[in-house]
Symmetry: D2
Subunit: 437 residues, 4 copies
């Protein structure tokens, strides 16, 4: 059997060492022999640092894996088996703009489902669709594993407008939640199963099973009474109102705080922006430190500091997914994929984030029934935001962009929406050619 060729677009990302580690530790069941790390000119230096670290890690492992760093995407994609994308169009500078402009108007930027997410989608989707077009020619049977945010919108864009259909969007939120639930119950993760359904960064844990018995209410109690809640590094640890979660009856994800605790989140971001800087600024500093570490010629493992990044386990999730597709594992993982009727109310051709059984043919969503009525409005609001944002990214239509911005639940007024939109369009002009043609 031939070994597998993996291509990682945005290979100069600080997350890459985790990806490398993931392939190394899965080698027995996932025989990767080539890893191509692709980046753009602006990322050349980081790419070099990453390639060198990757080579040291592989050397240590003793495995017959070759790592290639390149700026030539076309060469890299040729005959790939899996392509992962972890790009950031405009870099962290663009993210900081996504955060700062809304905050000027006392609006949270939020890089997936907020105004920032709209602009990240507008910048990113054309690039990802370009990759899909190349893949159709160079590696038509490859899977595109996207963990570029906003993962829901990017997946929807490829599903609806891409030249390839083998695409999966990935997020680390559900894994974190599942691991935290296991910790809260003080059991091994493999004894529990959680039904997840919703959208990217808007996913609910509907049911929790422990050894085959539904224990959702118990989990909610445990979480609420304990100190075990499913926080994540990149979302601050605000306490939920216990009676509300009890009433909701399902487990929200950390990002739900942006909606159910909008006030507190806004105040927190405003005060952090003045002290620590925005999340983008913080990450920039972390990245800088990480790359300093990576340069160390003695480092031949993924450094533990990497886990401080909110995206920790992202890459591990990607490796796990690739391994399951490759081996037709039929385990249940939570990914972004075509709804296809799994969640009623959401268009069949839209992307959802849902528990899926992972087969060689890709993810098959589990039928989980209707979502609780109390969650449907918020989910439809974000889904409408996503659908219209994707249309805006494809068409460069100003009105669609404004519509997306205004209906976003984080944006409290049409007038403000227009102000923020106009200012952000101007600030990101360079990355939005379709809006300025």
């Amino acid at each position: 059997m031939m070994g597998l060729k993996i291509v990682t677009i945005g290979g100069g990302s600080s997350y890459t060492p985790e990806l490398i580690e993931g392939f190394i530790k899965r080698y027995d069941t996932l025989p990767v022999t080539e890893i191509w790390l692709v980046d753009i000119e602006e990322g050349r230096e980081k790419l070099n640092i990453i390639c060198e670290l990757a080579n040291r890690m592989i050397k240590k492992s003793g495995l017959p894996i070759s790592v290639y760093g390149t700026l030539d995407r076309t060469t890299a994609l040729k005959d790939a088996d899996f392509v992962t994308t972890q790009i950031r169009v405009g870099g962290l500078e663009a993210r900081i703009i996504d955060e700062k402009i809304p905050l000027k108007y006392k609006v949270i930027g939020q890089e997936t489902n907020g105004p920032g997410g709209l602009f990240k989608a507008l910048r990113t989707i054309p690039v990802i669709l370009g990759i899909a077009t190349e893949m159709e020619k160079l590696c038509p049977n490859a899977w595109l594993i996207n963990f570029t945010n906003p993962a829901g919108m990017v997946t929807e864009a490829v599903l609806k407008y891409g030249k390839i259909k083998k695409v999966v969007g990935l997020c680390n939120v559900p894994i974190h939640m599942e691991m935290n639930i296991a910790k809260a119950l003080e059991v091994e993760p493999n004894r529990i199963r959680v039904d997840f359904a919703g959208l990217n960064h808007m996913v609910y844990g509907l049911n929790v099973y422990l050894d085959g018995v539904r224990v959702t209410e118990k989990v909610i109690d445990t979480i609420l009474n304990g100190d075990a809640y499913m926080s994540m590094k990149n979302i601050i640890d605000l306490d939920w109102e216990k009676d509300f979660i009890k009433a909701l009856g399902v487990i929200p994800c950390p990002y739900h705080r942006y909606y159910y605790k909008a006030d507190e989140m806004l105040n927190n971001e405003l005060s952090e922006a003045e002290t620590l800087g925005t999340r983008g600024e913080v990450v920039k500093q972390i990245e800088k430190e990480l790359f300093e570490l990576y340069k160390d010629q003695n480092l031949d493992i993924k450094p533990p500091q990497l886990e401080k990044r909110g995206g920790a386990y992202y890459s591990d999730a990607a490796c796990r997914l690739i391994e399951s597709i490759y081996n037709d594992r039929k385990d249940i993982q939570v990914v972004n994929t075509r709804n296809n009727g799994a969640i009623s109310g959401i268009p069949r051709d839209s992307a959802v984030e849902i528990s899926c059984v992972i087969t060689k043919e890709g993810p098959v969503p589990c039928t989980l029934g209707e979502l609780p009525i109390a969650t449907q409005g918020l989910i439809m609001q974000i889904k409408a935001f996503e659908i219209i944002s994707v249309e805006a990214a494809i068409t460069g239509d100003y009105h669609k962009a404004l519509l997306a911005m205004t209906i976003n639940p984080l944006v409290p007024s049409d007038t403000l929406a227009k102000k923020i939109l106009d200012e952000m369009l101007e600030a990101h002009k360079k990355y939005l050619p379709i809006f300025y043609k």
Copy 2:
């Protein structure tokens, strides 16, 4: 043919003269011979004033209509043909509480779809269900025409839990919008038709037809460019962002400003509360002045000052609806009725506000197709709020009330939701026995 018996619960309302006027001017096609005005002990004085005014109005008309004022609801309901409800459980004092407590937390009270609406529902629904129970025994073939707010939730409660099924909820917003659109186009109202769909105080004008031709875009332009917009007396006249309405492609109702212009509305309410007082306080003053007018023994018409009240044309809408049911008119009116599949995504057994053809058998919703995706999230959010609020009203379940409060889009945080809920529960304790049993 026998004349018709109309019973108006809450007959002491300041709106009643309009109702009397409506029956007088429709006598030729709607032969009402008995009007029973019912109120409670606290409203005895107002009821007397109204009855005397009504008798003067009828005397002037020369029609054989008898008006009865009574505190004995049972006697009044016996063999009624139509029962209208225009009650206010707890009076304007309760409304003022509904407004003031949320405002303390910088949250809009909003007496239909906001925190205030939740409490109005909790106070009102048990009373209306009691009326429905009596109607089943005393006048099982009568129609219940409800124009008590929150009209959507009250209608849903009767449809789901009431002893009678012949119930219609009524609001004056769509009529206002239709009349304002005609005015903006400078045509007679009967030349236009508007497809309305949504929820009470959350209804959209989907299509406008002039002489059979769809002119929706033209209407949007006209409205946005002119000074003709469909303001209503009880909602301040904030300008819409023109590009947003163009992008939305449908015509919002004035209440949509609470969601699409949340910031401005809140600031406006905060400043008005400090100067004019809350809307409840303003209305209280208007009512006082109206009743002074009504006492005038020379007054034998509906005084024009009544139209200053936001509810103007409510009663006219009620008379028009009754006339159409009675005569099997099959004209199209906008009412709150069972969804039955007319709006997809909303449960079949829930109430919606929608264009209906009015037959002798009641309203039949027009099939208008799917709502624009951009509107679905907000509508589902409010519908979920309504469904859960109604359940709370029926059960007295604290957690349901908290869930409704928290998912309301006007309430920005679960913690705030709990504070407001707890304070309002305490303040309205007297009218919420089911929560304190």
Copy 3:
């Protein structure tokens, strides 16, 4: 105000005198001033006879209506207000083939929802789409009122593939049923209302209201116990099994006998074919006799013999519909129109036959809720047959035609389906160019 121009494609039909009568008697509210009767070369003689009779009828009426007969469709369509279609591609000869070939295999031909209907659709749809294309250029605001069978499929074809969207399909079955129900109840037709829903020739009466009270069960009893059943001239009068209709709980149309009494209908057709001839042959004889009558220079009214044709009242239904559209009548009529969600389970863009309120903007389906579960399978089977037949007509795809034929509930086997299909394709070759390109 200008008078209206009506164009009738297939003007040489024996039904036309009823149409003329319909316009004459509605002149006060429907000021038709031009009626253009269009036909093809093969119908020249009939067209002349009809035009002369029409002129005598109008002369007698003293109304300022001009009748034009022409073979030049383009001239006729110019600036039309309403276009009606009553064509028969291939003439009665084709119908007789539609009946005879299936009968050879002991299968009912059935000119709408059976094998015959498939072939009538294949022959007719391209012609009607051609008319729609001309209308777009010559009279883009006109309504196309189609009463050519299979009316459901023709309507669906125009809705999905036509250049115009203002199309309504019409059938006389619901009117007949409503009139017969009134007769059975011994009341004036205007005192009852029936909710109809389903497909063309597959429509159910869901609810019957008398003076605003639901009396469906009573109607079913009356029909079953009396001799008042809703037979139609062109469908034999087989008795229903009373307990079955009671169990069904809704009122089937006469064509439902093809499914719920398939055995009896087949045996009847087989024996009639041997004695009277097929329905097509009978109609041919009736038509011949009618045209003999029409030639009589003294005849200046619609002769009563016309009502022997199964299509009687078709034309009256058309005039009634046109009058309601023109006057924005908002009465409820049963027509074939876009489903748009009115009947759940059926695609939104498919045609259904359903009670609609008739406005200047066309028919708006009434929301009638879900059909009884017992009817859903049969309706979906016919709808699938219709959808696939229309696709076959558009594409000329042999496999689609075979699929439609095989899933038709009147066809008991795939092998038989293929035999019948192949023989009919050959027999109708002349009219199916797209299958032989």
Copy 4:
């Protein structure tokens, strides 16, 4: 860890040796220690023969499994882990009646989805619901694995009306199809995966994947051109019309011949009934021979002759399912379970037969998207038949039974339906107490 207790109701069935064999060969992963075979007085002799054979088989295996035969169901059920049901209320005599009465009227009896299936449901459902009621008390955590036909209706009855919810219905048709497809492609079964969806004995193979690549069209070609088709022992091997299956685009199950080849199937049954006897009579003879074999004191394996029965592999499917539930295997198996939205158009609370991932918490249906339009009508027709039949079984309502009988696609007329129903009700009177109370 404690060993598992299995209870088999109808333990005296000739299939039981396969079940025993299944548990023996899976002992490593499914540690069954007690097997209780339960039967009724009439089956005492067969039960004894089976128990003795089972004991010889286990003795040969050397495993610590105890087999108990009993007529005392209550004792058996106590603390069971899994309960399987393979009962035949009224025995083969009843089946023969189910076949013979319809055939008198030239109607196929068909023991699942035909008139015979209706009566099998009427006799069986009350008994199974009785078992569910006992299970709730005696073994509330046990799974009920039903392979009694009609498996779809029995499952639906337990899901809707049973005291327990842990029920799965099982059929061997999908396994047969999958094995035959693998054989046709000449590959190992584990290299292919088939998406199955539909109803019991009305299931379609929607997609076939070989090593992760969709090969559905290729499979259809292979099947149609080769001699490899998926026949089953108990359904005669009639050839499909190749072009029809190509047009259908999905793979029908053998039972689809009853609908798509109704004529041929009927003629075949009529001629077989005259020569071999009905299937019931044939099975009776096979059973007799099998029990003769089973009595052989030297026999200590499942005799190969058992596979001649149409139900072969049923028991193996049951063991496989139990093993996957027990071990949380998450493989994909095809079972009858709650629809829950997996197949749109079918009520959420109805049973469907669909590919599911098998977890410790039971089967979770795969989201497979909409079924092809051409299949929806037939599926809805059978589902409506099932829903109404189950209601008839629960209520004893004559009209519901007649409605089910008449809408069944195998029954060509309401009059015939009533005749067959009345005759069958009389013939099975003894087993239908609810219809005669």
